[in-house]
């Protein structure tokens, strides 16, 4: 029972990390119709910058993370402005090729700047202890991950469904020229969405640094994982990504605890079953 609870909590927090990384990709792929396989590179960039600031430059954990998020958002915006927006109308294969190339460049750059070793992100004392919940104690870091995951879920749903920006975004991706004619700053909407997705990926990379170690091959190693979450959840569906991330995170963690000799067999079997059952996404009916 104790072990089952442990597995469940670890699985859910792993799922939260996957969700936070994947939500930006779900929006770029599902709404902006841009297949960005370099999304994992933003997660790595965020983690690297945070580790560098906190470890080597005496930043506090919170301020280091904040600066890392802003820097990654800026990088995402810059990439969108300079190159990516030229590729929106290209074929999917070309987008895949370009963004894989971009990931390779991130891998090589990370190695050039920081070397091939794993980057450690030191936790402040407040987060490395544990919190007593009355029923049981939980590691404080897990609590932070859970809280961030739920906050990101609620915030992104709210922004997409209720805010003026969400209306702009949905109008822009539905019909760019009509939205532009109505006075919506289309280019700005694209840049901001992309920057926000990059920042969320960075947050996921930072929160998940213990589960998914920060090393140069990060963008390629976890690419499949993030893509799988987006595909199983359904393109552009934020609640779908959340559900997919939780289910898959729990499956992966459970099989790691109970049947580690099978590797990721059960994870990918679950992926195949879920996709076969709901090819349009977990929370959408077939059709």
């Amino acid at each position: 029972m104790q072990q089952l609870a442990n597995i469940f909590i670890d699985g859910v927090s792993y799922g939260m990390v996957l969700f936070v990384i994947a939500v930006g990709l779900s929006v770029t792929m599902g709404l902006m119709r841009f297949v960005n396989l370099a999304h994992g590179a933003f997660a790595m960039t965020g983690g690297y910058i945070a580790a560098w600031l906190v470890r080597d430059h005496g930043f506090g954990y919170a301020s280091g993370v904040l600066v890392a998020l802003l820097a990654t958002a800026a990088l995402g915006a810059l990439l969108e402005l300079v190159v990516l927006r030229r590729l929106y109308r290209r074929s999917e294969l070309e987008q895949v090729l370009f963004t894989i190339g971009l990931s390779f460049l991130f891998v090589a750059t990370a190695n050039l700047l920081a070397g091939p070793q794993v980057q450690l992100l030191p936790l402040p004392p407040a987060l490395s202890g544990s919190v007593d919940l009355g029923v049981r104690t939980l590691p404080a870091h897990r609590m932070l991950v859970l809280g961030c995951g739920i906050a990101v879920l609620l915030l992104s749903i709210h922004v997409m469904a209720r805010s003026r920006f969400g209306v702009w975004l949905r109008a822009t991706v539905d019909n760019t020229s009509a939205a532009s004619a109505l006075g919506i700053p289309v280019q700005l909407v694209y840049v901001l969405t992309f920057a926000a997705g990059a920042a969320l990926a960075a947050l996921g990379g930072i929160l998940g640094a213990e589960l998914m170690p920060l090393e140069p091959y990060y963008p390629i190693k976890y690419l499949v994982l993030v893509l799988v979450v987006v595909a199983v959840g359904g393109l552009g569906s934020i609640p779908g990504s959340f559900a997919a991330a939780l289910v898959l995170g729990t499956v992966e963690t459970t099989s790691k605890y109970l049947a580690s000799e099978y590797g990721s067999l059960f994870f990918f079997a679950a992926v195949a079953l879920l996709l076969a059952w709901r090819p349009q996404g977990l929370l959408r009916a077939r059709g």
């Binding site: 971009l102 390779f104 460049l105 090589a108 595909a231 076969a276």
Partner: protein
């Protein structure tokens, strides 16, 4: 009527033979002038067969897959297991590899081809990952993480044994490459091949005119599986080891990169792309495995940013006909 057919037919036939002549010439040049590069050229030949097989699925049928290594790896393991338990005859092993590749493609295709687009893409990844994890678990058959070793391959046709300079391996793989190219080109020029291209261009319309879309695609996928299996079998026989990476995601992704680099839907582009990619990889990764990523990453970014269609069209106009073969020759000279 008869005369017009002849005058139309004669130049196309000599043109159709040109790629084989160029490949033979390149092969001979590598064999005599650069004997030190035979292992690299052998790897290129094997990879070219694999990438051509991928071209059938991606370029002709328009199904984006990132799990093609499943077919390659199963062919490689089948050949290795066949050689260690039953017979080390290379041609028999090749047949076993082809059969295994076709069988796994047919089986997984029954499931995969019910879907398309991103769902298909993700499912191909899932299938190949499941197979890779199974191979890692079934230690007794596959050797697990250590790889499958300890099988011996007999001389080809009982005559030419595999020598340490890789001469036999090179000629063997080169011949298999030429035969595979010939068969695949004939196949894709046949009504069957044209039907596959039709499905790529407009699936709904092909369905409406009565084509059996899923049946055609399944047949194509199984054929692609046979050739991917042959490539895997060759790699098992030449290297005498089959590792888990032969089922891995990286192999599928690299093959896709090679294919798009050379151009999809031409088969010759697949050969050129493999030659360019493998040669750059060989040269650059000798320096530093990470710096190699700068080169290939930059190349990919440039290939997309520079309007290649226009560039290609210009080259095509200058060299009447075969830009892809030209690309291959340029890259082999680097080697």
């Amino acid at each position: 009527m008869h005369a017009t057919v002849l005058t139309f037919d004669a130049p196309t036939r000599s043109r159709a033979l040109l790629p084989y002549a160029v490949l033979l010439g390149l092969g001979a040049a590598v064999y005599w002038l650069f004997p030190g590069q035979l292992p690299l050229a052998t790897r290129i030949a094997i990879m070219a067969i694999f990438v051509m097989s991928l071209d059938l699925v991606v370029g002709y049928a328009g199904l984006a897959t990132l799990g093609h290594s499943a077919l390659y790896g199963v062919g490689a393991y089948a050949t290795g297991i066949f050689a260690s338990h039953i017979s080390g005859d290379p041609l028999l092993g090749l047949a076993v590899g082809a059969l295994a590749g076709a069988a796994i493609a047919g089986l997984s295709g029954l499931f995969l081809l019910r879907y398309d687009g991103l769902t298909f893409l993700m499912l191909t990844i899932a299938v190949s990952q499941i197979l890779q994890n199974l191979a890692s678990k079934l230690r007794d058959w596959t050797g697990g993480d250590d790889g499958l070793t300890g099988f011996t391959i007999k001389p080809v046709l009982g005559l030419a044994s595999f020598d340490m300079f890789g001469r036999t391996a090179f000629v063997y793989c080169g011949v298999v490459l030429l035969v595979s190219l010939f068969v695949m080109r004939r196949l894709m020029a046949s009504p069957f091949g044209l039907a596959c291209v039709g499905i790529h261009q407009n699936r709904r319309r092909m369905d409406a005119i009565g084509a059996n879309v899923r049946g055609q695609l399944l047949r194509l996928y199984a054929i692609a599986g046979a050739f991917a299996g042959i490539a895997g079998a060759l790699s098992a026989q030449v290297n005498q080891i089959v590792g888990l990476d032969s089922l891995g995601f990286e192999l599928s992704a690299e093959a896709l990169v090679m294919l798009v680099l050379g151009g999809t839907g031409t088969l010759l582009g697949a050969i050129a792309g493999s030659a360019v990619f493998m040669t750059i990889h060989h040269v650059a990764s000798a320096l530093n495995p990470y710096h190699w990523l700068f080169i290939i990453g930059g190349l990919l970014v440039l290939v997309v940013l520079v309007p290649r269609q226009r560039l290609l069209a210009q080259v095509k106009r200058r060299v009447a006909g075969f830009p892809n073969v030209r690309g291959a020759s340029a890259s082999k000279q680097v080697a």
